[in-house]
């Protein structure tokens, strides 16, 4: 007299309550595992990138400055307006490079934030059908640990390459060189062309 369906209804209700409990427990474990991803954590990630990248920027800036100084001295135009313009451009390039490093640091942190949020949401999605909250918790801990570990940053590349192309190779090459002018003869039509290949 309805015994079968009666027990089926209760059994289903129990299963549903148990699944809900599992889900809540698993979501709690996931949130616990990801609780370390605070704004301070992401700020630290940005700072880590800065500490990694800025010495390289400084090093490249130093090398480019030395090259520029040598070029200017070689041209004998160290105190010219052209030299001033070149130094200004180098300074701008350096500050833009520093600004770029700062932006990249922030982007790295933001990218990590998105990845972590995505992984957390993915795990919560899995938790809804999970019947082992502890396993989901372990998975969440492993995922969180992988995001917390130091990551390999992309190489910076040559930040002053554009400046070198524009101001060291081309711009300064066309600058008047009294030594070369004397060698080839002042006012000769070929001097400028030959200087262009200097």
């Amino acid at each position: 007299m309805g015994c079968g369906s009666s027990s089926a209804g209760n059994q289903l209700a129990q299963q549903q309550a148990q699944q809900q409990q599992f889900t809540n427990q698993a979501v709690g474990n996931i949130n616990q595992a990801f609780s370390g991803f605070t704004p301070q954590f992401y700020n630290q990630q940005a700072n880590n990138y800065m500490q990694w990248a800025l010495p390289q920027v400084n090093n490249q800036f130093q090398q480019t400055s030395q090259q520029l100084g040598a070029k200017l001295a070689n041209q004998g135009i160290t105190n010219s307006s052209g030299a001033q313009n070149s130094w200004n451009q180098l300074n701008n390039t350096n500050q833009l490079a520093q600004q770029g490093v700062a932006s990249t640091a922030q982007n790295q942190a933001n990218q990590l934030r998105q990845q972590v949020a995505g992984e957390q949401a993915n795990l919560i999605g899995q938790a809804q059908t999970a019947n082992n909250p502890a396993a989901i918790g372990q998975q969440a801990t492993a995922a969180a640990a992988s995001y917390g570990a130091p990551s390999a940053f992309q190489p910076l590349g040559n930040l002053f390459g554009n400046f070198a192309n524009l101001y060291l190779a081309n711009n300064l090459a066309n600058t008047y060189n009294p030594g070369l002018a004397a060698l080839y003869g002042a006012g000769s039509g070929a001097s400028n062309q030959q200087l262009g290949y200097y």
Binding site: M1, G2, S5, S6, A8, G9, N10, L12, A13, Q16, Q19, Q20, T23, V27, N43, A46, N47, M50, L54, V57, N58, N59, F61, Q62, S65, Q66, Q84, W87, N88, L90, N91, N92, N94, Q95, L96, Q98, Q99, V101, A102, S103, A105, Q106, N107, N110, R113, Q114, A117, G118, Q120, A121, I124, G125, A127, Q128
Partner: protein
């Protein structure tokens, strides 16, 4: 009307009452299931509305300004940190005017980068906020769906709640009908008045009962006379 018939009528009435009570019990149980399910679903709805409202509260213009401001401030701090690192090489100075121009130009560039970073941070904050809200809504929706899916089975279970009473009622009703039939068909032991009583048997005749009650009189040769059926 004799006591037997009254008893039969009472039994039938009791059976009908029990049958009705069983039906009511099933009906109430089914109503309880429906109300309980609606109550649970309302709880889920409230939960979901809370999540949605919290998420919506972070999508206001004020929140957007705040998130953009945070992004700008964060990049501003990082740029200051980067540009305040002492260079290993000092560039020649070309005068205060030049330095000031450089500073203004760089300040504008930094501000533009910060503004851009503010928009980016706002977009990312919103995306993450939406992702988290969707995730929470997914959990709530899944639980609500799961809770609602068992309602048909619970309704079936509830519909059978009154079956014992209905069965007892049916049994009593049947007994009452039989009793009534038994009384109405001339049971000699009933208290029907003698004037209305059927001529049951003669001096040489004995009453004949089948399994269903009195049928007629049986003569010495086994012939049934005065039968209710037509004898």
């Amino acid at each position: 009307m004799g006591c037997g018939l009254l008893a039969a009528l009472g039994t039938t009435a009791l059976g009908a009452g029990l049958d009705y009570a069983g039906g009511q019990q099933s009906k109430n149980a089914m109503n309880n299931v429906v109300n309980s399910t609606i109550g649970r679903e309302n709880q889920f709805t409230n939960q979901a509305q809370g999540v949605f409202n919290n998420s919506l509260a972070q999508s206001t213009p004020k929140a957007a300004q705040q998130q953009m401001g945070q992004g700008q401030q964060q990049l501003g701090g990082l740029i200051s940190q980067a540009q305040n690192v002492p260079a290993s090489f000092s560039m020649p100075s070309f005068g205060a005017t030049n330095t000031a121009q450089q500073g203004v130009r760089q300040g504008l560039s930094n501000q533009a980068a910060q503004n851009m970073a503010g928009y980016q941070t706002y977009g990312i904050d919103q995306a993450i906020k939406d992702l988290q809200a969707n995730s929470q809504l997914g959990v709530i929706g899944n639980e609500a769906q799961s809770a609602a899916s068992i309602m048909p089975v619970q309704l079936q279970q509830a519909s059978q709640r009154g079956q014992p009473l209905q069965a007892a009622g049916g049994l009593l009703g049947s007994l009452g009908e039989l009793g009534g039939l038994y009384n109405l068909t001339g049971n000699p032991r009933t208290n029907l008045s003698s004037a209305n009583a059927l001529p049951l048997f003669g001096s040489n005749q004995a009453p004949f009962y089948s399994d269903y009650g009195y049928i007629g009189n049986q003569g010495p040769w086994g012939t049934i006379t005065n039968s209710l059926i037509g004898g």
